[in-house]
Symmetry: C2
Subunit: 228 residues, 2 copies
């Protein structure tokens, strides 16, 4: 077991080096970068499509990098927005790592971008320890998932800079208990802004875009030893 812990530590340390290099590149290029993490089916891709459309309408140069275990379905969906999109197929791997992001940014002129969104593999556990050099980590929770998910998957919600609630248009149909969900969210993350959204109605997408363009770059203090 010690061997596994040591190996995991080594992987995380190596990832942190790659992430630091990415963060420096992003800062030099003046591009704001967000890392989107959630369960499969939370609606990351639908919300990203709406966000990218709005960004382009506002004259914000936005692009997306999309991670999935298999298929390029999400890249094709996001490309409908008109934004440049690249797909990372992880071939079964359960999260993105910083060096995978670096490789897939190869040849992209980051200085020409204002906003880069990185859609992680749908997984509420494994991406939490892997810094991708982002300014903003976004954890999404859909109203269909159950109000206690932040308590059951605390690391991912704890490590988020912004929390996004999705699919609010069907909140009543699924008997979403907002008070209970907010209580759970606040118990693992007392400070991150919580933004309620619906890709269907467009609610909250403008607030989210404002947040991504305005938020102060995160420092590295987020990844404390007990999380890694």
């Amino acid at each position: 077991m010690t061997r596994i812990v040591e190996l995991k530590k080594g992987i995380l340390e190596k990832n942190d080096l790659h992430a630091a290099a990415l963060r420096a590149t992003y800062t030099d290029s003046g591009v704001r970068v967000s890392n989107w993490v959630s369960s499969p089916g939370t609606g990351k891709t639908a919300l990203l499509e709406a966000l990218l459309r709005l960004a382009l309408q506002r004259g914000v140069a936005a692009a997306a990098l999309v991670g999935d275990c298999a298929t390029d379905n999400d890249a094709r969906r996001l490309a409908r927005s008109g934004a440049p999109v690249r797909q990372i197929v992880t071939e079964g791997m359960c999260h993105l790592e910083a060096d995978m992001v670096s490789q897939h940014l190869n040849g992209w002129d980051l200085a020409s971008l204002d906003l880069l969104v990185v859609e992680n593999v749908g997984n509420l556990v494994c991406p939490s320890g892997f810094d991708l050099g982002e300014d903003t980590r976004i954890a999404l929770l859909s109203v269909t998932e159950g109000e206690d998910k932040p308590l059951k998957y605390p690391q991912i919600f704890h490590s988020a800079d912004v929390i996004v609630v999705t699919k609010t248009d069907i909140a009543d149909a699924v008997e979403w208990d907002a008070e209970s969900a907010y209580h759970a969210l606040r118990s693992v993350n007392p400070v991150a802004p919580i933004i309620e959204t619906s890709s269907r109605t467009g609610a909250g997408v403008d607030s989210l875009l404002d947040q991504l363009l305005s938020s102060v770059p995160a420092d590295d203090s987020r990844l404390t030893p007990q999380e890694a």
Copy 2:
């Protein structure tokens, strides 16, 4: 990278040995065992609660073992059914392994049970390679998750013996495209029975219980080398 592949292979081989021992114990005890895998928020716990209640009503001696990264919320929910329940808290680990199951079965009289359900950690990626000695692996897909999930997370749906669609009562509200979803499911798993359920209305719960009590024990051929 070779070191990681070798280590992963070692972990899976060790798990397979523990799983084979568990399978032998289950067979000797005459208990049918299922391993429930899905994304977080698919509704595993709600469906399990309904299933356990129905089992007890029918005189089937049923029990549950529940895996979560944190909290014993699910065990407490399932215990409301009246069935014996135990919780495995993985402390951040993203899947159950066979030796964790063995340890938590310690002292339970399996011969007194007809049915044992094991609820895995909510994760559509990592549990797929880990045999828990079950007769039946159940992969769940909720109508809220998106019809292409089986294509994006093929291993978990491919390795399932039974596929359960959940939350069918809100299929219309979320514009569930059943034809598209079935096409995706069939392309990664042409043979597993597909059972549509709703924990709210109770639809499909009886069929699922029948399936769990009647299905022929799976052999080990499911875990082919390319999957592990």
